[in-house]
Every structure is written in C-alpha cells, then in structure tokens.
C-alpha cells in the first residue's frame, strides 16, 4: 500500500501545480464566455502571444520571466480591450458562427504574424531556478518554478474571483451576463464593461503565458493545445463560472497526472476529452458550479 501511496501523492501534487496554470487559462475563457457568450478560439494564440512577450523581455532586456509575466498581462489586457473594441463589438449582435470565425481568424493572424516576426524556430529560457527541486521528505519532490507559479496563480485567481464577486465592476459584469438589455437599462455601460472584461480575461491568459514560458518551450503553434484544454475546463466548470473553471483546471491537471501514472501518458488526452463529452451530454451545466459571472 505504502509503495503506491507516495507516487500517487507525488502525481496529485504535480497535477495541482500544472492544474493551477490550466485554471488561470480556463478562468480567462470562462470570464469571456460568461460575459459575452463569445467562444474564444483565439485563446491559445493569445497565450502564445503572452509567452512571446515574456520571452522578448527575457531575451532582449534580461527580465526574469517571473517579473516579465506582469508586463505580458498588461500587454494582453490592452490587446484584449482593442480586440473587443475594434473587432468583436461589431459582430456582437450577429450569429455565434461569426464570432467563431472571427476568433479563429484572429488566432491564425496571431500565430502566422508571430511566425513572420520570430520564425518558426522554438525558443526556451534557461534560468537557474529551473534546476531547483524542493524535497519534502524522502519521497516527494517538487520543481521550484512550478511551485512559484502555483503561488502566483493562487493569489491572482483568488483576487480575480473576489474582484468579480465583490467589486462594483464585478457586479456590472454579472448583471450583463444575466441580461445585457436589462443591465444597460440599469445604467451600466455595457460596451465599456465588456471591453474591460475581455481585457481582464486575456490578462489572466497573459499571466499564465508568462508563468508557463520557463517550464515549457515556445513556438508559434504552442497555444493550440491550450485552446482545446480551456474548452474542456469551461465545460467542466459550468459554462462561464470562473470559480468553477478554477476548480475544473486543477481537477483536470490532477486527472491527467493520475491517468498518466496508472494508465500511461497516451491516455491523458483521451480521458480529457472523454470527460468533456460525458459532462456535455450528461450534465451540461457543469460539475463545479453554475454560471454566476
């Protein structure tokens, strides 16, 4: 029994660390979906953009990625607001299909634009922190950068949750999510609030991208897999619930790690999407909460 216990615990802890990044990415998507009903197919491309921003800061100016992520988040916030004001706003009243096409188009432009600027070659950052492992007892070890990114993510995720639930702006967001026409009758500037929400959603992705860069590597197509993962997270967390998405992200990380440990890594994605389909068909309101944003 004990022989199995430690590896399982190790896998669960690693899953929580990975899952915290998933959570942040998923929260961004949930916020955007919750407030605007936009399925953001460019989510992964924005993540990639944030990674490149952090990389450029590191490569050209020597800024540590664990500081650079703040700049990436700020950049993504601006990109998000602009993206909403210049593009998405114009088709807000049209069919959902147009939003899908538009965000897909943005995604293609971003990944090909980055490829033009930086080439298709991959990049990685090597910082001393990557070589540090924290040993808890004899059996458990955690890689320091993942622990650091977990700590940052936890603080920001809780902050984001409180902001949406408690602040005046957050209340406006939730009002729009409930009924945008009623919200505008109550004196809420719907367009401005939605633009800020899109910016905020992308800022979360910006943070995640900055934190992901040191433990991963970078090429223009790196974000694609995360678009798919955030769909799974949003569905699992209950279409647009940001705390649901946070929990779902962590759960997804743990499930992936346990699947890898017991069945093998090739099953991890299968299980991801099996969960996706099961939740969609059996409990479309999600497992971890309902929409409140």
């Amino acid at each position: 029994m004990e022989a199995k216990l430690w590896p399982t615990l190790q896998a669960v802890l690693n899953g929580v660390l990975t899952g915290s990044l998933y959570a942040l990415i998923g929260m961004g998507m949930a916020l955007i979906f919750g407030v605007m009903r936009i399925v953001n197919f460019a989510h992964g491309a924005f993540l990639m953009l944030a990674m490149y921003a952090t990389y450029v800061l590191f490569d050209r100016l020597g800024v540590n990625p664990y500081l650079g992520f703040v700049a990436a988040a700020a950049l993504l916030f601006v990109v998000g607001v602009l993206n909403y004001q210049l593009l998405l706003r114009r088709i807000a009243e049209r069919s959902d299909f147009m939003q899908i096409l538009l965000t897909l188009g943005v995604s293609l432009i971003l990944s090909n634009g980055v490829q033009l600027l930086f080439g298709a070659d991959y990049h990685q950052v090597n910082i001393p922190l990557l070589d540090m492992n924290l040993h808890l007892g004899r059996h458990i070890s955690l890689n320091a950068p993942w622990v650091l990114s977990f700590a940052i993510t936890a603080v920001l995720a809780i902050g984001m949750f409180l902001f949406v639930m408690k602040s005046r702006f957050g209340r406006a967001l939730r009002a729009i999510a409930q009924n945008r026409y009623a919200a505008s009758l109550m004196g809420i500037d719907v367009l401005r609030t939605q633009a800020l929400a899109f910016g905020l959603g992308l800022a979360a992705v910006g943070v995640a991208g900055g934190l992901l860069l040191p433990v991963f590597y970078l090429y223009p197509g790196v974000g694609d897999q995360f678009t798919l993962k955030s769909f799974v997270i949003v569905v699992l967390g209950g279409m647009g619930s940001i705390e649901g998405a946070a929990i779902a992200g962590v759960v997804l990380g743990v499930v992936e790690n346990l699947t890898s440990l017991y069945w093998g890594n090739e099953w991890a994605l299968v299980v991801d999407f099996a969960i996706f389909l099961l939740v969609l068909s059996l409990r479309p309101s999600g497992l971890f909460g309902s929409q409140r944003v």
């Binding site: 590896p7 190790q10 896998a11 690693n14 899953g15 990975t18 490829q115 080439g119 298709a120 070659d121 991959y122 990685q124 090597n126 990557l130 070589d131 492992n133 070890s141 955690l142 890689n143 992901l212 433990v215 991963f216 590597y217 090429y219 223009p220 197509g221 790196v222 897999q225 992936e256 790690n257 346990l258 699947t259 890898s260 440990l261 093998g264 890594n265 090739e266 991890a268 994605l269």
Partner: protein
C-alpha cells in the same frame, strides 16, 4: 444558392489551374528538384537543418555546373510538421511544379504519409531521415532511403550495451507517432533477442509540458537502461523532469533525433541535462569519409554551427539525386529512378548503394555527450573516448 456558388468556385479553380499550367515555359532554364520538409511547427529545428544541408549541396553542385547543363533549383514545400500537409506537398510539387524527383520528408510520420502519393504520381522519392522501418514496406521501385532504420539503431545500441556493463533491464520511452513507435518496436525485439528484459514501455504525446507521472512509472520499475525515442523539445523536458522524479538509470540511451540534434547539448536545447546521454548517430563531423570535413566546414561557414547527421543526410540525398540525374541524362522520373537504383558513389555521408528494396546499407555509431559535445564511443575500434555510465542526478551538481 450554395451549389451554384460551389460550381463557380470550382470553375475558377480549374481556370486558374489551367492558366498556371499554360504559363509553364517549354524549356526551363533550371532543373527543378522538389524537397518536402518541416520548416515550421514543432520539428522546425530539423527542417532547418535539412534546408541548410540542401543549401550546402546545392551551392557545391551548381558551382560544378548543375545537372544536364542547367543549374539546379530546389523547390521547398513546408509540411508544417503535419502529415496531411506533406501529402499536399507531393501533389503541389509534381502537378504544379513538375519536378521529376522528390527528397523528403523529415519525420517518419510525414514520410510514411507521402509514400502512397509518390508511388501514385510515379516520381522517385529519396528519404534522407525517416528511420521507421514501415516507410520502406511498400517495396515500391520509386522509394529509396539514404539513412539507416530503427532496427539498425536498436542493434547498435544493444551491441554497445552488451560490451559495456551488459545491463539486464531496459525501459523504452517513446513519442507516440511513427518514429517513436517504430523505434520502440525495434528496440523491444532486438533487446529481448539479446537476453535483456524490457521492464516498461511508455508512449507519450510530444509537445506536452508535463511528463512527470510517466517518468514516475518508469522510475518505479528501476530499469538499468532507458531508451528514449524523442524529438528535440520533448527530450529536454523529459530529462529535466527525470531529475525531479529521481529517474536515474545507469545508461540513458536514445534513438538519435532529439538526442542527436546539434542544439541538444547547448543552452538552446537540454544544456547540462544532455551531459552523459548516449545516442545513436548516422554521421559525425569527425567522420573519416572523403569530403566529410569539407562538408562540415562549408556548413559551419553557412550557419555558424557544426552540422548534426540530419543535415548530412539531406546533403547526401541531393548529391545522390544530382548524380543519378546526370547519369540518367534525362528529366524523366522513370529514367532517374533507374539511375538511382544503380547508384554507387562515396559521399561525405558514407558510401551510398541501394539494395533491391531501395535501402542504403548505412552503419550506425553510438555517441555520448561529454563536455557539451557528441563524442564517438562505439564501435570500439573508432571510438574517440571511453563511455562513462550516466551518473545519478544527485551526484552531478
């Protein structure tokens, strides 16, 4: 409405297609050779190595007057590291550009995908780097391979191991496409035949940030040897995370590729994590074949870094193609394929001669990263240095 719209679009495509065909000059001023490789996507580092290898060969051949009195022009098709794109590349190169011969692709997955298309279009294909044995199983007279395959990789690795410590247990960790699957299969067969026990086989999806659970599984089996079949990006992550979960086999061996890329032992790759890893290699800059040094010099001058074997294979593929075209004295695919079959030449990559199945018998070496450089450790009679068993992670820093 929609059907009519589709018909219009179809007509436009037909018309444009015909116009392109019509504009083709009767007597082209250059001799076109098609290349399919991965210039973008996760395998871009290897595609770039290919491109540089071809570029060196191209400069050399054209300086000598090209083929059939014309300069050679290489038309690249970027398969974006995706098999379906590689297949489109065959159609584009043959139908639109009318190349009589294709070289490529990079990965085993993409090469396997283009074999049927090439056979159908009836143009010869020279494969520079695909190691999976199933790329050759069609037995078609249009298919030729310059490099050694996964069976030879496994054979050389096991041969090396039996003469160095003779470890008994082995785990295989492989990326889950054609390259990894083929090399895992070959290794399982060869290692078992040599009396070793394969204690674990783990497939994984490349381009994932997290392999820790998989490596935990391997560590639990405590194998003496781990054999990795990985591309570059995953190789780095795998090694870094091996340290974290305490996977410390006595021999970290590999089916080349990621573990043999020029970037791998540098800061751009796995850096210090690459140290002590073993890899098979098809060629090294220190190879004794005539022209090896000149190729190394020309490549280094072009790119600022020494070539790995992927570039040498691409270089050799173009040299062999040009030689065959000159001997065929024709720009017809069938004549060129016949000439390739009769190839008998020494290239900087080694002697090239194809057997009845189109395979070139090429020897495989084993290298170890020592001091951030690939050092030849096997076969023993040509070894540069003595192999050092991979030390435990805890004994390194």
């Amino acid at each position: 409405m929609r059907p009519r719209w589709l018909v219009h679009a179809f007509l436009v495509v037909l018309f444009v297609g015909a116009a392109c065909k019509g504009s083709r000059p009767e007597e082209a001023r250059s001799f076109r050779i098609g290349v399919i490789t991965s210039l973008t996507g996760p395998a871009a580092a290897f595609g770039q190595a290919h491109k540089n290898g071809y570029a060196v060969a191209l400069a050399e051949l054209n300086a000598r007057g090209g083929v059939l009195g014309k300069p050679i022009e290489v038309l690249y098709y970027d398969d974006q590291s995706k098999p379906d794109q590689a297949v489109q590349g065959v159609a584009k190169l043959v139908d639109q550009d009318h190349v009589p011969i294709i070289l490529g692709a990079f990965s085993s997955e993409n090469t396997r995908a283009i074999v049927p298309a090439v056979i159908q279009k009836q143009v010869p294909l020279i494969m520079p780097t695909a190691t999976a044995e199933n790329v050759m199983e069609s037995g078609s007279p249009w298919i030729f391979r310059i490099c050694a395959g996964s069976d030879t990789y496994a054979g050389a690795t096991v041969d090396f191991l039996t003469h160095n410590g003779a470890p008994k247990t082995l785990a295989i960790v492989y990326e889950n496409t054609n390259f990894g699957q083929a090399n895992a299969k070959s290794m399982k067969t060869v290692a078992t035949a040599a009396g070793m026990t394969v204690v674990d086989e783990e497939a994984y999806q490349a381009s994932s940030p997290d392999y820790k659970a998989l490596l935990q599984r391997v560590a639990a089996k405590e194998p003496e040897v781990v054999y990795f079949a990985s591309y570059l990006l995953d190789a780095t992550t795998l090694l870094r995370q091996s340290e974290q979960v305490g996977l410390s086999p006595k021999y970290i061996t590999s089916a080349g590729t990621g573990f043999a890329a020029a970037e791998f032992p540098t800061e751009k790759g796995a850096g210090k994590y690459a140290e002590y890893t073993f890899s098979v290699a098809q060629w090294l800059p220190t190879a004794k074949w005539p022209g090896s040094k000149e190729f190394d010099d020309a490549f280094t001058k072009l790119t600022g870094a020494h070539p790995a074997y992927h570039a040498a294979e691409a270089y050799a593929a173009l040299i062999v193609a040009a030689d065959a075209i000159n001997r065929a004295k024709s720009d017809q695919p069938a004549a060129i394929a016949d000439a390739i079959r009769k190839t008998q030449m020494t290239t900087p990559f080694g002697p090239v001669q194809f057997d009845a199945k189109g395979q070139n018998a090429h020897p495989v070496l084993v290298t170890q990263v020592q001091g951030a450089q690939y050092k030849l450790v096997w076969p023993a009679d040509v070894a540069e240095v003595k192999p050092v068993p991979t030390p435990a992670w805890s004994e390194r820093h």
